[in-house]
């Protein structure tokens, strides 16, 4: 299972720490790749291998919206534009429940929109359900 990668796009180190903690507490032990901004996220996904590695395509992208450089919606747009990542499950995982954000996200092809609860218990629960659904229950489209 460890080769199943989660790409966590999150600029805030505290959120990153809490998310990792929550994943761990829920026994989600997959590799978690962290991208601290939109550009990093795209580099990971579409890296041309100049650094010698062709990255493993993640099974799930947890995408924050407010990001430095390229924001979450722009990253999502690029992901959906590219043939390689067109069907990649992307879950928007963010603080806001602004209607505008939700509509734009779904319009750009987000698979889910999950708001990060303030309370950590709820946060844990949300993370657990996300992991269970997207990493266990959900079947991803075969690569072609």
């Amino acid at each position: 299972m460890s080769n199943i990668v989660i790409l966590l796009v999150e600029d805030n180190p505290r959120d990153e720490a809490l998310t990792l903690r929550a994943l761990k507490k829920n026994n989600i032990v997959n590799d978690v790749v962290i991208a601290r901004d939109g550009v990093e996220a795209l580099n990971y996904l579409f890296g041309d291998g100049t650094d010698g590695n062709v990255n493993v395509m993640p099974q799930l992208v947890l995408l924050d919206l407010k990001l430095p450089k390229l924001d979450g919606l722009q990253v999502l747009e690029k992901i959906r534009e590219d043939e390689r990542t067109r069907r990649l499950p992307v879950v928007i995982f963010t603080s806001s429940n602004e209607e505008e954000d939700m509509i734009k996200s779904y319009n750009l092809g987000a698979n889910s929109y999950v708001r990060k609860p303030v309370d950590f218990e709820h946060f844990l629960d949300a993370t657990r359900q996300l992991g269970l659904y997207w990493l266990v229950l959900n079947q991803i489209a075969p690569e072609r």
Partner: protein
């Protein structure tokens, strides 16, 4: 539609026979036509009256001329006739007293007869062409001699005349007689015996017919259309000197005034006058038209002139009313153009009268209206721009709050939890309690942020009006509430089929808050009772949400709908104090009102109205449903 047009009949009902045109009435006419008609009628009346008056004047003058002429003519003719009768009688009298006549009457014999005949010769044809015969009568009224020889004595009874001549002045002219269709008269003179007694009488029997030259003189005097009549004063015979004619109207002979009557269908005027010294009467008659021709010509000329004046007047009136109404039309046109939004339109009427003043006042008004319209538009634009920028700022603020304010709370909460889990053994219970408080506070802050954002959103989001089923919304909200607290026992009544017109999302937020409150504040009851329904009060549909919960003190009812206002402590009931403020905003955005009644520990009832143009339909539906 311009003022001159009238709407066509029955346009909306082509299958009907055309509606009868509106009855003609002055008020249906345009001012232009009305004014023309009015001025035209006025001119017509004035012209007609003046023509009539002047015609009457001319006619009266002409008739007066006729009367004067009649007077002088009858006077002249009567005098002439009188002179000739005197002349005639004198000649007769002289002949009668000729010695030969006297001798014959004293002793009629062949000799004296021859002498008398010779004297009488000039009084019979051929020497006197108008004479029929001459007769000598003796004092015993017996015929003694008739000339010319062999003529039969004239048949009339001469005795009264002979008797008349037996006294002064011993001569007389007889009344006119018609004998064998001949108009005749006699002139009689007594033959005196020298002692003052009549010896006999000379009777000259003559035809009443003027000689041709006299006739011509008369015609010259009278004119061709005049009639001249002779008659007897007592009126038994009337003649035009050729034949007998009908008697003129009675009264003519007695009044000596000009009399008007009809003869052969023609209106005539006539005047009669007795001929002194005779029993005769003379009448001169003129057809009125002889004198009225000029008056009639005058009338015709006046009518022609009047018609011309009328036409001119009508033209003038039309031009005048056009000159008045044309500016009105152009003002009307201008007003419609300007009300269509084209403020650049200028009424072009250059006049110095009231209409010119009206037009320039109109133009000034348009300029003023245009300016104030522009000012208004400009200030609306400015205000809109300000509002838009304020709204943008508010949105940016909300967005940023939504994203950035919650994150630290999450971190506070999350790391407090982490602290509890990872280092719980190094903290005593008080320390752990503090950390729980930190977590609780962050959670509360999260709710506050959410509620404030919702309040802001309710205020600024766009309204979409659609038919909303409040009953369904209430069911769905209650289902969520029940799901959150599965263990609670509650009785929840929701009236079915409550439809209204509004924004579905906002109404849902409102019901979530109201039913959420009811649910929250009745949580300490053994059995919560919550009802949502509709009542009709004073003709207004009022919705209500009622619960049997903690209620509130009516003394604080004013604070109920203020943001951040709470009537219960946080230890009693959780809450942010924003829910009812949000409810009020939603209701107000729908144009409705919300108010509450309650009593401590006796529950609360919240009522609100949502004005709905389909209200009447609603009542029917709910009646049917009920």
């Amino acid at each position: 539609m311009s003022a001159g047009e009238t709407p066509g009949p029955g346009m909306s009902q082509p299958w009907c026979p055309p509606v009868r045109r509106a009855r003609f009435s002055l008020s249906n006419l345009s001012i232009r036509n009305r004014l023309t008609l009015l001025i035209g009628s006025l001119i017509f009346v004035i012209i007609a009256i003046s023509i009539w008056a002047s015609y009457r004047g001319v006619k009266d003058a002409a008739l007066q001329v006729g009367r004067d002429r009649l007077q002088s003519l009858t006077q002249q003719l009567a005098t002439l006739s009188q002179q000739s009768s005197v002349d005639l009688l004198n000649k007769t009298s002289i002949a009668a007293n000729d010695p030969a006549i006297v001798a014959f009457l004293r002793s009629p014999s062949a000799t004296t007869r021859t002498g008398a005949s010779a004297i009488l010769q000039p009084f019979v044809p051929p020497r006197d062409p108008n004479s029929l015969q001459a007769e000598l009568w003796n004092a015993d009224y017996a015929l003694a001699l008739v000339m010319p020889d062999g003529a039969s004595p004239q048949p009339a009874d001469l005795e009264p005349e002979l008797k008349q001549c037996s006294v002064e002045p011993f001569k007389a002219v007889s009344p006119i007689r018609v004998l064998n269709d001949v108009i005749t008269y006699t002139a009689t003179a007594a033959v005196m015996d020298g002692t003052g007694k009549p010896l006999g009488y000379l009777v000259r029997c003559r035809r009443l017919s003027p000689a041709p030259d006299a006739r011509k003189r008369l015609a010259d005097l009278l004119g061709s259309e005049a009639g001249l009549y002779y008659g007897n004063s007592h009126g038994d015979v009337w003649t035009d000197m050729e034949k007998a004619v009908p008697t003129p109207p009675s009264g003519l002979a007695s009044t000596l005034e000009v009399t008007h009557y009809e003869r052969e269908g023609k209106s005539v005027m006539a005047l009669g006058r007795p001929i002194i010294g005779t029993p005769w009467f003379i009448v001169v008659e003129f057809p009125d038209h002889v004198f009225l021709t000029q008056a009639n010509t005058f009338l015709r000329r006046m009518v022609l002139i009047g018609l011309a004046l009328l036409l001119l007047g009508l033209g003038g009136a039309f031009a005048l009313s056009r000159s008045i109404t044309r500016p009105l039309y152009s003002l009307t046109h201008a007003a419609s153009v300007i009300s269509g939004g084209d403020y650049s339109y200028i009424v072009n009427i250059r006049r110095t009268d009231e209409l010119g003043a009206l037009a320039s006042a109109f133009n000034v008004m348009v300029v003023k209206a245009r300016d104030s319209q522009r000012d208004l538009e400009r200030s609306v634009e400015e205000r809109t721009a300000q509002l838009q920028s304020a709204n943008k700022e508010l949105e940016a603020f909300s967005y940023s709050v939504s994203h950035d304010l919650r994150a630290p709370l999450r971190h506070i909460n999350g790391f407090s939890q982490a602290l509890l889990e990872d280092y719980g053994d190094k903290l005593d219970d008080v320390g752990k309690g503090y950390l729980q408080d930190v977590r609780g506070a962050s959670q509360q802050m999260g709710h506050l942020i959410d509620d404030v954002l919702q309040l802001a959103r309710v205020t600024r989001s766009e309204m979409r009006r659609e038919v909303v089923n409040l009953s369904e919304l209430a069911h769905s909200v209650v289902a969520e509430l029940q799901e959150r607290e599965v263990g609670r026992t509650s009785t929840i009544y929701i009236e079915e089929g409550l439809l209204t017109l509004g924004d579905n999302r906002l109404l849902r937020i409102m019901l979530t808050n109201l039913l959420g409150n009811a649910w929250k504040f009745s949580s300490k009851r053994e059995r919560a009772e919550i009802a949502f329904g509709k009542e009709h009060k004073d003709g207004e549909a009022t919705y209500f949400v009622r619960d049997n919960g903690a209620g509130f003190d009516m003394a604080y009812v004013d604070k109920l709908f203020g943001a951040f206002q709470r009537l219960h402590g946080a230890d009693e009931f959780e809450g942010t104090g924003i829910g009812l403020a949000t409810v009020q905003r939603v209701v107000r955005r729908h144009g409705g009102r919300v108010w509450a009644e309650g009593a401590v520990d006796h529950g609360a009832i919240f009522r609100f109205t949502i004005p709905d143009s389909r209200e009447a339909d609603n009542v029917e539906h709910s009646d049917l449903a009920g």
